[in-house]
């Protein structure tokens, strides 16, 4: 049975007061993982003995110290592109097989300082590049609601682990939708924070101007709790903001009066599955009855978002991934000269999709193409940001589906990169504009989860979470899958 039987707050409370021990929580978590992991394949490195040792240390803390820990004894799954000293970090790539980082990502440290126990690293598309978790050298992850379908990606391991009940909380990263789309596909909650809200120190960089780390959980409240713990300035990440972090939990149930929501036509038209649209519109209808006003708006540059993203993200990736060269860490394919060593190491160490993006990014940055592709995409990025600025003059938030389709069948698009890229059509705009965006379950269609996405102005995570909480109240959700 899944050890996740209560809210994170409730579980931590029981650990704090000694009603249950962290050891029994962590041990039941591993017991359950052994049972369901072979069906889901959400996890990579784990070390039960070490996790139990940490749980024991937590149980031995004096009550006065233990009660200060917001995540006392809570099992946590960490996407495998966040480096950890205690467990190998592979980023789903052969080039980092067996890599043990000499330091731990700031977000993981913060969660551990609050009593969270990392039980495993989670599967992902190699270096975060993909929308299905099929581009992992360690094999695909299955969707817990239907094993023949993908869990989304790239944080598919994190999302599937939470939906399967292996752990109540997971950390993911989101460059073009990699938290929100898998959250939607797995019927859970995920938020990509405002760029700069959460430290990227220790996140293996894919596209540095777009990447953000964020939480995945079963409820908005659990999501808010983990976001609270990981948010805030980190001197080790120059792009993390020196902005005060509001108390997300305290505000969660503050009533929302006179809320105005923008419904952009561009996100409800061509390319969006009719069933997904129906489920999302049904939620909007119910929210109207709760007094939320819906305003149809235009965001005319949305049509350019995927194209701009697939120029900018690969361009940044081509630079970021140049560090994987067989010299300082990771795979090395020996050769007689340095150039051949680089070329063979990178050819053998990187999977198809990663090579594709590195080559694409290299091309669009190369002499003669830079203005045509890269500079143009940066200008379009400014236009997309302007669409949001204009929208937020009229409305408080913008609502869209989280993904254009239901979770698709494993293997159905692995060979069609362009079709895979279009899975990100609803989510890339928030990354391009640096805005926070939350995906919450909107309902089910044919037994498969559908997510609804809320995008807000910079630093409006508190508002997004409050709306998410409201959505939870109007959506009826089925029991979690029995695995």
């Amino acid at each position: 049975m899944s050890p996740v039987d209560d809210s994170v707050k409730g579980m931590a409370e029981r650990v704090k007061t000694g009603q249950i021990s962290a050891q029994s929580l962590v041990s039941s978590c591993f017991q359950y993982i052994r049972q369901v992991e072979p069906k889901v394949h959400a996890l990579l490195a784990h070390d039960e003995e070490l996790a139990m040792e940490k749980a024991r240390a937590l149980d031995r803390l004096p009550l006065s110290e233990r009660r200060e820990l917001r995540l006392a004894g809570i099992p946590l799954v960490v996407k495998d592109n966040l480096v950890t000293e205690d467990l190998d970090t592979t980023a789903g790539s052969r080039i980092l097989e067996g890599f043990r980082s000499p330091y731990t990502a700031s977000v993981v440290k913060r969660a551990e300082e609050q009593g969270a126990i990392v039980v495993a690293k989670s599967n992902l598309d190699e270096f975060g590049m993909g929308s299905s978790t099929e581009h992992s050298v360690y094999g695909p992850t299955m969707n817990p609601w239907d094993f023949s379908r993908v869990p989304g990606g790239s944080s598919g391991g994190s999302a599937a682990a939470v939906a399967a009940g292996m752990a109540p909380l997971a950390l993911g990263s989101d460059t073009g939708g990699s938290i929100r789309q898998p959250a939607a596909f797995c019927g859970i909650v995920g938020i990509k924070p405002t760029y700069g809200r959460v430290s990227r120190y220790g996140l293996i960089a894919y596209a540095s101007s777009l990447d953000q780390v964020g939480p995945l959980a079963r409820t908005v409240e659990d999501t808010a709790l983990l976001l609270q713990v990981i948010s805030g300035h980190d001197p080790l990440d120059a792009t993390s903001a020196q902005m005060p972090v509001p108390d997300y939990l305290a505000q969660l149930d503050r009533p929302l009066q006179g809320l105005r929501v923008g419904v952009p036509r561009e996100y409800f038209g061509d390319g969006i599955d009719a069933n997904v649209k129906m489920v999302v519109e049904d939620v909007l209808e119910r929210l109207k009855q709760e007094g939320v006003s819906m305003v149809e708006i235009d965001m005319p540059h949305t049509q350019y978002a995927v194209a701009a993203y697939y120029l900018l993200a690969p361009a940044e990736a081509s630079s970021n991934l140049s560090r994987f060269d067989g010299v300082r860490y990771g795979l090395r394919v020996p050769a007689g000269d340095l150039r051949t060593l680089y070329q063979r190491t990178r050819a053998q160490g990187m999977g198809d999709e990663v090579r594709r993006r590195v080559l694409l990014g290299t091309h669009v940055l190369s002499a003669g193409y830079y203005d045509q592709y890269y500079v143009r995409a940066q200008k379009v990025r400014a236009l997309i940001r302007r669409d949001f600025e204009r929208a937020f003059e009229q409305v408080d938030l913008v609502v869209t589906p989280s993904a254009p389709e239901l979770p698709f069948a494993l293997g159905s698009r692995a060979d069609d990169p362009m079709k895979m890229y279009l899975s990100d059509i609803c989510t890339v705009t928030a990354n391009l504009a640096g805005l926070p965006a939350l995906s919450v379950p909107a309902g089910f269609e044919s037994g498969l989860p559908v997510g609804i996405q809320w995008i807000g102005p910079a630093w409006s995570e508190d508002l997004l979470l409050r709306v998410g909480r409201m959505v939870e109240r109007v959506v009826v959700r089925p029991p979690w899958p029995k695995l």
Binding site: P102, Y304, V306, A307, Y310, V327, G330, Q343, T362
Partner: protein, 99 residues
């Protein structure tokens, strides 16, 4: 625009990724398809638009002060090949040597 094999070779060379014969074909057609798709951007009116290089936050600086960092042993711990406390690579001057 269809990418020529010459361009693919040039890009692979810049990216330091060795492509085999049949891979060059495939990469050329996959990248061409993406470039065909991104041509949609030609329709965007970017006249007079400032490029947006950053997220919502401008670049920030910090004091250039020394601070603790990895020890040499930690920094070298993952290196495939180490010699006398340094990363070892094949000889780049003179005769080649197994790296």
């Amino acid at each position: 625009m269809r990418l020529s094999k010459e361009i693919v070779d040039h890009v692979a060379d810049l990216a330091q990724i060795r492509l085999k014969g049949e891979e060059r074909e495939r990469v050329a057609s996959e990248l061409s398809r993406v470039l065909e798709y991104v041509a949609i951007l030609d329709g965007a009116d970017i006249e007079g638009v400032e490029a947006s290089w950053h997220g919502p936050r401008a670049s920030v600086t910090r004091m250039d002060a020394p601070r603790p960092s990895l020890t040499r042993a930690q920094a070298l711990a993952n290196a495939p090949k180490v010699r006398e406390g340094m990363f070892q690579i094949p000889r780049i001057l003179g005769e080649g040597e197994e790296g």
